[in-house]
Symmetry: C2
Subunit: 738 residues, 2 copies
């Protein structure tokens, strides 16, 4: 029992209250008062005061700037959307929320800035970072001193950049890009060409309307006629003054997408476009003025790998983007469910839909997943920063190389897990909010649409998972063949060293009904080992039947390389969350709720693998599955009264959330009604109105219309006695949906 | 061995070729030539010549009418979309594709018309049927002779109708609607009132801009002060000549939705709106001129049920709508996957992505599901027509009543299964088409967005599944308590009569590697019985712990009433498909491919329940799951070469499909490229362009701007020696997504 210091507690309370304001009183009070913990305390612990202040600063700045004003559910054309996004992006350059020095000092602050912008609008965050970080960053990472002029111009917004790798007919297979860059020693220039339209650069963010410069990936050809493989070049595509295309460049906009329509994704076809020799980004390979290719890499595969290395950070970030989307949508769905009432124990009493077990089971596990994934994202991001520092310090140690591989494996899978969890969660939330979830103003649709490409870009999820399973298979093979101990810098695979003993374990729970996180962790370790063994066996079977390596690999993906990668990353997310909660830094009074979240995440995620647990004999009899299921339901019930406070911790301000049913005051109907009435032309007649409007169908009309005369026009049917009978039939045939 | 008649075969061939034209030669030839069956023969068998001609007639008419012209991925404002949809709807009244007599003669033809329109655009099909069938049909079904004037005016398009049940704060709980209709004997009128904005009618299709009349559900109050429950009334809401609202009606548009933006969903608030007494739809209850309530139903619950009965057909139709969406998206995804090449056994040879096991596993089971669900939808629809004929013939038999209940149970679950299968399938297809699947012009997004409300309207899927599980629980209780034999008109539940012996069965496959449909059917029967028993036990447990009926029901949904309803409907879909394939009508040469489809659907769907099969002891050891998984993969591989021909059978013409990568010629890149170049302002400068555009950031600017002066503007950083080091760090922190 510790003796508390009332003065110290008061001071802490005052800090909390000045940092985080109370929410307005309203229908959500019911749940807020029932919370088992102080949401401000968790918010402070979760993000830290510094990050909270950074976020508040950005949120406030955007809210106060009329350029960032918007209306829920507004109907922007693609053109208008792009225009607004671009103007806002320009404004961000003026605001410069984070100086370079600040970013280096606190990388978490830097990523928080980007995620704050994204919570407002991912198009804006993308246009901003595609130019500044994707273009600028690649120039720095892949170029040399001679390219610094471009970076400075980017920072000053004198030019605007984009990153052009994908072509119309190639995406995943990056090596197969067909754009060429032929060196002409006579003029000291590269000549860029697209062999045909299938090799047009395509899908390039910022290229559609605004970029002046592109990093173009092309096959480098030296004058000796040798193709030196894919390299990146800075190609000016438009004149910054006029925005007109440069000679030989055909550049345009690929059109409307399912989401992210603030970004002008574009295409470019190059016809003998000449650029200075120095525009080759020459970190990994260069061409001398005489036209000789020089590189420090002997193996072109390794050189290619190193030049694409700059991309891998994207996967860590996408994990974070997916988590932010979950935060936004959870806030909307949980607050709505806490206020929306439907049915009840009697005809005269309705209860919040959050009280239904089914609704809890649909929503609350995603709340747990969001906390677990948010922690994983932040910690993996810090691992990446550590790795990048090593690169910067020219650390050539084996540990540094291993760290790079491990982060590659973890981020490939966490990007997939994050983007899919968000995709599935948002869809569940949309449905759980019923019709109102389908109303654009409530924003679930936009977030779903903007989240969707996370499953695809920076590597298709299914393709990426192969990177992770290959990493794991590599470790096991190394152990079997060379007897190496399995031990990685981040310890994500260390338990595999006990491969056989893990495989011998079986499900046991000693204390009745108590299933904490360790139960799920033990099961996950077994799952990884089991699926690893099964995958190896499958690969061997395929090989023994005489198939090529290519076929063996392809035929082992569904069962079980794909599942292997998924359980591996789920295990790691859970393990890190568990360790974090039980570290000494975590305030004791926050541990119970965090433990419930980690147990729920673990058991809910594990429950999807119940079939494999039985198949491999880890589970036997009906008890294990039943225990798992009942514990998930119990945890949902226990977290139900905390769930509003748990989203209060994660939620951005109303202005950023921009969803009437997700507002902090919980006045779902008032807010929705107000937003509807503020819509455009709500009460006006349709734009196409002109009298006479409903004039009835007159057969004469159609006969004057050459098209209509083809149709079988039926004259108005008189109300005969048999009409009613017929109509009953027909009305059953043509139903409507309302 | 049958002796064939070459002359007869030639005649049949000629009919086929004149009815169904060959597809243009191109990249899809590869797969089309490998198909194991003649696609025209399957198309003829699947739809029948009459339906094929109806479809072709509609498709051709729309394609030839300039009003129906459209561009892939065009960017319509909500306003323009509604205007176009409404004008097209008016045109449909002129075309009148199906006369009343035709529809009664062939109900399948009638539903084919609606689905053809829907494949073109679900907004159009909905606006059309909401008016004609939802409004008109309800007037006929719930009204009497005195209402026929409204139906005639609807058919002649002198008025335009909508169906107003849902309110802002009530959806699923229909009985809790709060709009009132008070009878005033003095004027022989009902006075319609919305007590407050939360009782505003909301989400009503066609109400936003165009409807002149609404069927309004309101609590009927007689002059004696008694509330007689929810009734429906015809309320004029706008003047057909001017489209201005009637006095006391505040009516408007609820705004943009996630999809279906051609429909003007609206709201209405009523303030002392007076309508004639005769506007009460009086099939189930009426008010005399003196103000006395008269009804033939003694139990108000039964009266309410009967008045909502007209809605149940919607669920059958939604099953069909979901199937049509699957057909559209499958066509796009399979054709694209058959042409798109990525990676290959060597660096110089790429193979179609359809050749990858993983891609087959993602797509082909949905192809099987689409065939199975399409057959189920059509046969359930015919059951419904039979039932409606009984209603019309005033059949009061017990069989007729049982048929109604059974169709209610089947359609509640098939609507959920269909809409979710489509939702998940479309998402999988979107991802399986990579970036190009995310481009609006390829239409996967629109279809996903338009399919989404199928999960919600006409009853939320999760809520509807309770109807089905209640039906099954009712049968078991009746057998246990009253000893009745379990036997239903459509035989969907008959196997439950052997409840205990089914439960004693275990998984066995005698012939090695051969898993036909009967394996899945046997497993499904066991699953239904097992989950039924578990649900009953759970309900008993809850009851024994002293909970109310309301709580018992709620706490038994996740485990296992929900799964029970799902396995029951999957079993029925599979059983009907199996019976159909093995009927004597099915041509012998088509049976092999159809059998593969039914086996694949059965085993793939069953595989999702593997955990339960193990949990309940139907499966033991690792062999059953492995057999299931391997058979699914084998069937996918066997169907791979047939899959293009199988979508050729289901696909609408290119004009209707409206997706460059889904076109029948398979020229995915040419079509995509052409569509991109035909976009609006593709090569033009952005609309917001005016020089100077990229002028660089000048601190003086921001100081003149009161908002910007708040921001921490950093002057351009000189290229110092430490800049590079810093930039490497920062570039790793701000990644971009391309």
């Amino acid at each position: 029992m510790s003796v508390t210091n009332p003065g110290k507690d008061n001071a802490k309370e005052n800090t909390l209250n000045s940092l985080l304001l109370d929410f307005p009183s309203g229908p959500l009070d019911l749940y807020r008062q029932k919370a088992s913990f102080n949401w401000k305390e968790l918010a402070l612990f979760w993000d830290g005061e510094e990050i909270i202040r950074v976020k508040q600063d950005i949120f406030r700045t955007l809210e106060n700037d009329p350029l960032f004003a918007r209306q829920p559910g507004e109907d922007l054309t693609v053109e208008k959307n792009r225009e607004l996004t671009f103007l806002r992006c320009k404004q961000l350059f003026e605001y410069d929320f984070l100086t370079l020095a600040e970013a280096v000092q606190s990388p978490l602050k830097a990523i928080a800035v980007l995620n704050c912008l994204g919570m407002y609008d991912w198009s804006l965050a993308s246009v901003y970072s595609l130019n500044k970080q994707m273009f600028g960053g690649t120039v720095i990472n892949s170029g040399s001193n001679r390219h610094h002029q471009f970076v400075e111009k980017i920072i000053n917004m004198e030019i605007f950049g984009c990153f052009a790798l994908t072509e119309l007919s190639h995406g995943s297979n990056a090596r197969a890009m067909r754009t060429t860059a032929e060196f002409d020693p006579g003029t000291q220039e590269f000549i860029i060409n697209s062999p045909d339209f299938e090799a047009a650069k395509f899908w390039v963010g910022n290229m559609g309307k605004t970029a002046t410069h592109a990093i173009v990936f092309a096959q480098l050809q030296t004058p000796d006629g040798v193709c030196q493989g894919l390299h990146s070049f800075i190609v000016q595509i438009r004149d910054p003054k006029t925005l007109l295309p440069m000679p030989g460049v055909m550049v345009g906009d690929i059109g409307k997408k399912l989401g992210l329509n603030g970004i002008d994704n574009g295409f470019a076809v190059f016809h003998n476009v000449r650029i200075p020799r120095e525009n080759l980004l020459n970190r990994t390979g260069d061409v001398t003025p005489e036209g000789t290719y020089v590189t420090s890499f002997k193996d072109p595969n390794r050189r290619f790998g190193a030049s694409l290395g700059a991309l891998s950070v994207g996967r860590v970030s996408i994990t974070g983007i997916a988590v932010m989307n979950l935060k936004l949508c959870l806030t909307i769905a949980i607050r709505y469910s806490a206020v929306r009432r439907q049915f009840g124990p009697t005809d005269h009493e309705e209860i919040p839909v959050l009280e239904y077990q089914l609704q809890q089971w649909r929503l609350i596990p995603y709340l747990a997943a969001t906390y677990a994934l948010d922690h994983f994202f932040k910690s993996l991001f810090m691992n990446y920063v550590e790795y990048q520092m090593g690169v910067l310090m020219k650390d050539k140690s084996e540990t540094q190389a291993e760290l790079g591989k491990e982060i590659h494996a973890l981020s490939s899978a966490s990007k997939s897990l994050g983007s899919w969890t968000a995709q599935q969660g948002i869809q569940e939330f949309r449905e759980a909010c019923g019709g109102h979830g389908y109303l654009a103003m409530n924003r679930l649709g936009d977030i779903r649409n903007d989240n969707d490409p996370n499953c695809t870009y920076e590597g298709d999820n299914n393709v990426l998972l192969q990177q992770t399973s290959n990493y794991l298979l590599g470790w096991i093979k190394a152990k079997h063949q060379d007897g190496v101990a399995i031990k990685s810098p981040l310890q994500s695979v260390d338990f595999l060293d006990d491969f056989n003993s893990v495989l011998n374990q079986r499900f046991t729970v000693t204390i009745n009904g108590c299933m904490d996180c360790s139960v799920a962790l033990a099961a996950y370790k077994w799952l990884v080992c089991y699926l690893l063994r099964e995958s190896l066996m499958k690969l061997d079977d395929e090989k023994n039947s005489g198939k090529s390596d290519f076929e063996c690999r392809n035929n082992s993906q569904v069962y079980y390389c794909r599942s292997l990668a998924i359980v591996f990353i789920e295990y790691n997310v859970l393990q890190r969350f568990h360790d974090f909660i039980h570290s000494s830094d975590t305030p004791i009074n926050l541990q119970p709720v965090l433990e419930r979240l980690s147990s729920l995440y673990g058991l809910w995620a594990l429950n999807k693998h119940t079939a494999v647990l039985y198949q491999g004999g880890y589970f036997t009899g009906n008890q294990p599955a039943r225990r798992l299921q009942n514990t998930v339901l119990n945890l949902c019930a226990q977290l139900k009264d905390d769930s509003v406070a748990l989203v209060d911790v994660l939620a951005p301000p109303d202005f950023i959330l921009n969803s009437p049913i997700g507002k902090a005051d919980g006045e779902i109907y008032k807010n929705l009604w107000a937003a509807v009435l503020q819509g455009k032309n709500v009460l006006e007649r349709p734009s196409c109105f002109e009298p006479p409007f409903y004039h009835g169908i007159k057969p004469t009309q159609s006969s004057t219309n050459p098209i209509l005369s083809k149709a079988r026009v039926t004259p108005p049917t008189p109300a005969r006695s048999w009409l009613r009978a017929l109509l009953i039939c027909i009305s059953s045939i043509f139903p409507g949906a309302s």
